[in-house]
Symmetry: C2
Subunit: 306 residues, 2 copies
């Protein structure tokens, strides 16, 4: 599915569904490059300051993209690890996004942005709108809902106008998520269910031909009961499930997210794939990442049951 000049862009949900069914994978690999974790051949380069570290990170991510491209539908570069290297890191972030798109992958920028309307407009421009006449930096963006609807409108506009996708934080995978997201409301529901209800409503007018919406949700894979409840609350949302791998969830834990179709959920693994070489008998970090991605692709496809 590609855009026809002059017609409205293909919605993100349809682009994603097309890619999932064509490649038979719902796997997303998170690119969380930490200099101290890089393979020794790259770590050595990285010690000469931030510019050298950014260059090493860029080479590492490109190598990972090459290795995993056959097994994943998207990569999810995490902006924090690039920002930690300053403006050189941001340049690496841009290069990695471009490299992944050229490798035929969708790019989900994991930046968890969200601010008052005029500021969110600038974030939408940064991540989701065409840049200098070329494509946007990313196909989709993770977004925090805490500031409410008007803080999200500029992102929804990018979904309509530029074919962008969103993944709103609904119930995250970290231990502290319970503190606010599980706060009990006066009607007895946890807060995250109200967020889920809002997300379902906000996504209604961005449903594509595939039946899914470009307004998706982040729901941690670490609590399977919550995954099932989130699916019922948001039947048309594409659910992005972090927490598989290093955070302890198994592919089978996420089966309930897939009841709305084969592309209705994406399973993300980050460290367990990109640093697989640290656990694997082989010394080749690219091959180790490829093997772990291939294993997860099959496990997730089987768990999804389509």
């Amino acid at each position: 599915m590609t855009d026809v000049p002059g017609s409205p862009p293909v919605l993100f949900a349809d682009r994603l569904a097309d890619a999932v069914e064509r490649k038979k994978t719902q796997l997303v690999v998170g690119l969380d490059p930490v200099v101290d974790m890089l393979p020794v051949e790259l770590r050595g380069e990285a010690v000469a300051g931030r510019a050298a570290a950014a260059a090493a990170v860029e080479r590492f991510c490109a190598g990972i993209v090459d290795a995993i491209a056959p097994y994943v539908v998207a990569v999810k570069p995490q902006s924090a690890f690039f920002e930690a290297l300053g403006s050189e890191g941001w340049q690496a972030f841009e290069q990695v996004c471009t490299y992944a798109r050229r490798a035929g992958l969708l790019v989900i920028a994991d930046a968890k942005r969200g601010d008052v309307g005029s500021t969110s407009r600038a974030y939408a421009a940064a991540f989701l709108e065409p840049r200098d006449g070329g494509p946007p930096l990313a196909d989709a963006l993770t977004v925090s809902p805490y500031l409410g609807r008007d803080s999200l409108d500029p992102f929804f506009a990018a979904c309509r106008r530029d074919g962008a996708g969103l993944f709103l934080l609904v119930r995250t995978s970290n231990p502290g998520a319970a503190e606010l997201q599980d706060a009990v409301l006066s009607d007895g529901r946890p807060l995250w269910r109200q967020v889920a209800e809002l997300v379902a409503g906000w996504g209604e007018d961005l449903v594509g031909a595939c039946g899914l919406s470009s307004v998706g949700a982040v729901v941690g894979a670490t609590v399977p009961r919550i995954v099932g409840e989130a699916r019922r609350e948001m039947p048309r949302a594409i659910i992005l499930l972090p927490g598989v791998g290093a955070q302890g969830a198994q592919p089978a834990d996420v089966a309930r997210a897939f009841t709305s179709g084969p592309s209705s959920a994406l399973v993300n693994a980050s460290r367990s794939v990109i640093y697989a070489y640290r656990e694997a008998p082989t010394e080749d970090w690219r091959a180790a990442a490829a093997a772990e991605a291939a294993r997860l692709q099959s496990a997730v496809w089987a768990a999804a049951g389509w």
Copy 2:
């Protein structure tokens, strides 16, 4: 107040209190540079692509810093407007932060970051930790609390170890804030009050000699009743109050935030100061910004009543 080698750093709260009392100002000016709003002499330069736009933004912000430095205790550069210009924009962000620190101002990076623990650690490194043996990019950072305690621990560590400050989003100034932040909990309180209670607790072991904590809060100035309630809920938090100026609040609306002392609250104005030239009879954008900052400094100091 400066650090003595070998001793723990001076806490942000104490550095801020010292600066407020020395300069007699609780005013913060937000640096929200939008290319289309720049003075015509800079806008002309900015049309030649993102690098030129970033250079124009940097010159504009430096000019504003020079103009307002006598009247403000801190500047609050908004990361979104720099990110919208890509890696060149990030470089401008770094330059502007450095320029403001050299002008003797505190820098509050308004980036509203927050993610799972390992990711927040990278954000803390990006904004709050010493870089390449030099000072951190910023003195303080705005942070979203939606992911809970473990997502904040790396920021608290930077407060202790590096003398950094935080401003957690409690009740924001935008219209949509009510949607989630005012959700009614089972005990009848709005969600934001539970966040405020958590912020007060998290900040307890970061209280400085001034009696205030390095863990502060963002509370919109647009609803005076909420400002008073937030102060009671968080007696030791430094409250950062956006919403004065372009968003409609008046200095008198924030008086209740100052009951914990002259440096217990900061009032932020952004567009009404940096783009004051658009409303002012004078043609000089620097002078217009200086005049508006001076006016607000006096009005806020008077409203604070110390």
